[in-house]
């Protein structure tokens, strides 16, 4: 079950464990503003092929705009 985390833990995981940040919003929203280093995999395009961009040996943190 994916764990819900908050800002401080996001920073820690990114800095200390090389976590990959993934914004799952549509590309237009990602291009306007996203977290540093985040990549974009829109939810509607998330499948085995697009997920292949992600490493399996590091944590993955997904986010969207807010609790939506």
């Amino acid at each position: 079950m994916p764990a819900t985390i908050f800002r401080d833990e996001v920073r820690r995981l990114a800095e200390e464990e090389g976590a990959q940040l993934v914004e799952v919003l549509p590309r237009e929203e990602y291009e306007e503003a996203h977290l540093p280093g985040a990549i974009n995999v829109p939810l509607k395009e998330l499948d085995g092929e697009t997920a292949a961009r992600l490493r399996r040996d590091a944590p993955v943190i997904v986010y969207c705009h807010d609790y939506q």
Binding site: T4, E23, A33, P36, V41, P59, I61, V62, C64, Q68
Partner: protein, 160 residues
Amino acid sequence: MSPRAAWRLEGLGFTCVYDYAPGKADWFAAGLPREGSLAAVPTVGDAARKDVPTCAPSEKVGPVRERAKAAGWDRCVVVNRERVVLGLLREKELGSDPEATAEEAMRSGPTTFRPDAPAAKTAERMRERGAIAVLVTTPDGRLIGLFRHEDGKLSSAERA
């Protein structure tokens, strides 16, 4: 949306997946760095004056007034040990009984803005409403600085 993405990734065999549920709204509101086409648009957090004086609620108004005045300010923000904003001492309150504590004299619950608000648009709204300055805080109430409407300069990106 992000919970569904997290579950989907687990279904695809990823074993270490986290959901940052508060999302980028929370990140930007905390004044943390951003990337993207709007990253260069000045925000209230960028323009806020970080040197606004602060004091503890237990401090006496008299010494606080002198300290603020010496630093060129006519106001002081009352914060706790975590730098969470409790109130504001404006010129009027700083001129009140010098033996009163900041907590007794302060104006409680001042209006605050989040640091990711666009500076120019926020300044325009403040001018329309006759507000000279507002405090800028993180979502959990920690002081970032004080934003004055004259600090907002309309950039081309914001006009668009």
